[in-house]
Amino acid sequence: MSHPAPGLKRGLQDWLPKLVLAPSFALVLVFVYGFIVWTAVLSMSKSRILPVYKWAGFDAYERLFAQPSWYMALKNLAIFGSLYISICIALGLMLAILLDQRIRIEGALRPIYLYPMALSFVVTGTAGKWFLNPGMGIQNTVRGWGFESFTFDWLVRPDMAIYTVAIAGIWQASGFVMAMFLAGLRGIDNEMLKAATVDGASTFTIYRRIVIPLLRPAFLSAVIVLAHMAIKSYDLVIALTGGGPGNATELPSTFMYSYTFTRSQMAVGSASAMIMLMGIAAIMVPYLYSELREDRR
């Protein structure tokens, strides 16, 4: 057998994987990192209605941090984010554990918990706005049943509206979290649970001491997914409250959108986008680092 140019052939085989990856990587470099740089430039420009590339230094950042509503947005994100993440996880975990108890109708229940994830915010918002509105929705209905003093008017109370947004968000995402935990539960070695039973642990103890600690990776994934959804939450707020009453449900994402597009303060909007990106990076980079540092599995 003769191989005319073996070196060349091998060369192509060696390059092929990189060639295949290259287009995707290039797309991401341009469309994500290029755009981040672009946004950074805009945030230091004098852009208002459209991009203009006149240097303005950190003026936009100064103006951003002079806005009371920016602080409102940050505060709301803290409230919304912590509630959304913690309750989604608690509820998702509870449902997953309940569903893991040899439930006959599991196949029917799972999609019921999951389906809100499938709905677009336009749909959810339309229904939710109506449903949570005291005059038309659940409060009205329950009063109609004879409970005259029943009150559920959080949607219209500035101090409570952000909680309503959290409720809607939790309704939408907790099923997905449930699925993640259920997948984690199904991956736990059955013999371990038997061992714990023989060792004398009660069901509650088994979950508390063995199962839940073992779900650590699922927790981590859930927190990351939920955190990024919380930070990016835009649709939900716009559909449900439009940021109101007042600016009681303003979040950084809606803030950024309105400054960039409706208030013609593109530089300030871009500055807020950069701050958001930094916030996301602060969460994601350590996670990615720990995830990629050692080869798991």
Binding site: V28, V32, I138, M284, Y289
Partner: protein
């Protein structure tokens, strides 16, 4: 899937009481989760009068499919009154190629990043993954600029490009996690058998990737179908996707609110994703377990 049989069956107290509590809780939550959908469905079959006066949780007194017909075929969106059906097809024409391309690219990326590693593969992956997390509002303007340069502004093709780009991070993540657990020996074996890069992918990996493809397709399908921001920014008008049309229908600023038509349209808009979730839910779980989400 009968697990923890022992742990539960014998562990705590009278079994039946436990079962009642468990089923009770599950059913209550199911009811809570279902209520909004129920309200939407019930409303879509009611007449406007009934909606104004009535209880939102009540079943329709005289069900009518009129709102559905109107939403589908004759509701006015802008100056045309042909319902949302045209936009429904727009969405399909956008979603199918976008899902297919992003899934395909994700699969190839996952394949390279696990089975053909090179120096720096982790950094490349990290950069791609981080891309999942950028807020989309901040890329609208630059993206518009690029689409315009490419001559793709205001077109379905442009939307497909956008969704492919911003879906890549997640699809790559899914496939990478999945292929990570795929035995490398199989790749080595195929290499020795004389298969090349693409042959191995097509003949060995792809046929075994069904669970993760399902997860990826469901995830991408839902996200892309439900996207509004990109749709309204890059394809308002004739090539607008479903969500934009739905928004035009339900949030018009003046005129009588036809809630029943709105709800019918909303349900129609949600139908494909709902069907996908209900039909493929089982495979979705299986795919999740197979490593889409580490856990």
């Amino acid at each position: 899937m009968s697990r923890n049989e022992a742990a539960i069956a014998t562990a705590a107290g009278p079994g039946w009481l436990n079962r009642v509590v468990i089923y009770g809780l599950l059913l209550i939550f199911a009811a809570v989760y279902l209520t909004p959908l129920f309200v939407m469905l019930a409303t879509s079959f009611k007449s406007l009068d009934e909606i104004r006066g009535g209880d939102i949780l009540a079943l329709p007194r005289d069900p009518t499919i009129e709102p559905w017909l109107k939403a589908w075929g004759s509701a006015c969106i802008g100056v045309t009154c042909e319902g949302i059906k045209g936009y429904f097809w727009n969405s399909l024409r956008m979603v199918v190629p976008a899902v297919l391309i992003s899934t395909m690219l994700g699969a190839l990326n996952g394949y390279v990043l696990t089975k053909w590693r090179f120096r720096g593969h982790k950094i490349v992956f990290g950069l791609m993954l981080f891309a999942c997390f950028i807020p989309f509002q901040s890329v609208l303007i630059p993206m518009a600029r690029v689409l315009g340069t490419l001559g793709l502004s205001n077109s379905i093709t442009g939307l497909v490009l956008v969704h492919v780009v911003y879906g890549l991070g997640f699809t790559t993540l899914f496939f990478r996690n999945y292929y990570e657990a795929f035995p490398t020996e199989l790749i080595h074996s195929a290499q020795m058998d004389g298969a090349g890069f693409f042959t191995i992918f097509r003949r060995i990996l792809l046929p075994s990737s069904a669970p993760i493809i399902v997860v990826c397709v469901i995830y991408q399908f839902t996200n892309i179908w439900n996207d509004f921001l990109f749709g309204v920014s890059f394809a308002a008008g004739e090539s607008a996707p479903m969500t934009v049309a739905l928004n035009n229908l339900v949030s018009s600023s003046t005129g009588v609110k036809e809630y029943n038509v709105d709800m019918a349209a909303a349900v129609i808009a949600a139908l494909p994703t709902l069907i996908v979730y209900v039909l493929a839910g089982r495979y979705f779980m299986r795919g999740l377990m197979a490593g889409a989400v580490k856990g």
